[in-house]
Amino acid sequence: MLLIPKKRRSIPALYPGAPYWLRYILPALLVYLLFMAWPLLDSVRLSFYTGNAANRSFTGFSNYVRLFAGGEVTDRYWGAFGQTWYFFAIHMLVQNVLGLLFAAMLSNATLRGRQVYQTIIFLPTTLAILVTGYLWKLILNPLWTRDVLTGAGLGALVYPWLGEASTALTAVSLVSCWQWVGIPTVMFVAAMGNVPGDLLEAASIEGANTWHQFRHIKLPIIMPVVGIVTILTFVNNFNAFDAVFAMTGPNGPPNYKTDLIGTLFYRVGMAGQHPVAIPDTGLGAAIATVTFFMLCCGVIPTLKRTQTKE
């Protein structure tokens, strides 16, 4: 009752309060809490337990000790950890920079065919990364393209990109960038639509070149969207799974060099690892919790820094 403004309290039938409105909200809230919020938080609790749903016992920090104290689990974890950061760095450098560049070009009102370009750039994003991953796996297969590439004088491109430890992760990352570049592009295009045209005009009359206009006018205005894109990239990359699953496999071959936190989490917590194919839910939950904690540490400061307005 306290929530209703005084002026309105005189006609309660017309301005109902919490008990009335909750009836509308509860179905959505319950589904959300039961299938999203609670499982996320309860995963943190599960990381302090061992065993499965039928037989679970508290073990304190032992899952974390196993994760970080050394041995094979630790090696795998740090391997996947470093590779996920590399995966993320490639996405920031290639996917988001390309997206920004495309958007800067596409937001130019005098450029012809903007809609067509944007439609094409976004097209791969609509496909499942599983489908494009299988497709690129074929395209990157040197046995398949050897003749046509050497014939075209591009023999240098005939190389088992996905099979060699030194190139596999970069190849997978670039394919993933190819797939998703449409998202930052359309987001930046939409954001640049908010840049007042007369401001740019004034700047160009004052002699500001394209770079200066971008750096000092467009970039500050689109900063909140830069923040959102960074967060989305970060969250998605630290949960990336499909690209590796399709192109190299859930074990992150060759020799775990394309293993990401997402694939490691899948093997440990979901599928079960060789030689015992039983999922280790406690250890899996520990991996998930560390990721969750890391994402919070990355997301909250980024939000604070870029979403200052409003």
Partner: protein, 288 residues
């Protein structure tokens, strides 16, 4: 300042050159080629055969072969996978829209600290990585007896879609002029009646945005089917694709036909509604 040193004529022609945007066009054309090239590969090679796929991989088939497509479509499993995906995705989207619009209606009209708190709790989900919760979700779904059914996917997808629905729809309801609601109230209509008769029709474009935003991640999701579904008759399209990929591994032309058919519905929708797709996909980040 620098420009004023040139004669007027020259300035005008350089402006015309600038408006041609040659470097932009060159770069965008190169990228368009890179973006479309794999799709071209997919298309032309799916009409070859197991062996002719090796001659001239980047160009049209010497002889068009529809055998791959008839083989895949003749495979009852494939149609079953397709049906399962369709059921899971469409029911989830309907639920997202239904629950989302009800809650958004309330959150927009009910002002108060509790309302704001619930609103932010719900939209926080736009950034929460739900995959991290998979271990608990798997046990939950198992306990509810939904394992190995598409029923396991629907509540999870609905929970995934509700945050964006609340975000977009609440904003939209707030923009609906208060007079409309008041007029309804004065005429003696109940609030639920107003929701059905006045709000829902007005919300249609915003609901389309929400539906499109969720369509791609739901249809293209591999993760949850992979961990929830192991039974052949409950597999979704993408999960089926992984199985057929293994089965046809020695025959890439068939694999490509499977991939093409699985991508066809989304590509068709996208080509028909590309503007709405792009608008829908930016809904989460940019207002307006």
């Amino acid at each position: 300042m620098k420009d004023s040193m040139y004669p007027k004529e020259k300035r005008r022609s350089s402006l015309r050159m600038q408006n041609l945007h040659l470097p932009s066009h060159i770069l965008l054309i190169i990228w368009s080629f890179i973006a479309l090239f794999p799709i071209w590969i997919l298309f032309v090679n799916s009409f070859k055969t197991r062996f002719t796929i090796y001659d001239n991989p980047f160009w049209l088939p010497a002889k068009w072969n529809v055998g791959n497509y008839t083989a895949v479509l003749g495979n009852n499993d494939f149609l079953g996978y397709f049906k399962n995906s369709f059921m899971a995705v469409s029911s989830s989207i309907v639920l997202v829209l239904l629950l989302g619009s009800l809650a958004a209606y309330a959150l927009a009209h009910w002002r108060g600290r509790a309302s704001t708190a619930i609103y932010f709790t719900l939209i926080a989900g736009m950034m929460l990585p739900i995959r991290i919760a998979s271990i608990r979700l798997l046990e939950l779904v198992k306990a509810m007896g939904l394992l190995n059914t598409i029923g396991s996917l629907i509540p999870v997808y609905t929970a995934m879609g509700i945050p964006i629905a609340i975000f977009v729809l609440t904003e939209f309801v707030r923009q609906v002029p208060g007079e409309l609601t008041e007029a309804g109230l004065i005429d003696g209509a109940g609030r639920f009646h107003i929701f059905i008769r006045i709000m829902l029709p007005l919300l249609r474009p915003a609901m389309a945005t929400v539906a499109i935003y969720n369509l791609i991640p739901f249809w293209n999701d591999l993760w949850f089917p992979l961990i929830f579904i192991n039974k052949e008759n409950a597999k979704t399209l993408l999960l089926g694709v992984t199985r057929l990929f293994g089965q046809y591994q020695t025959d890439w032309s068939k694999v490509l036909a499977v991939l093409a058919l699985s991508a066809l519905p989304v590509i068709t929708l996208y080509v028909l509604l590309s503007k709405q797709f792009i608008k829908g996909m930016t809904a989460g980040a940019v207002k307006g």
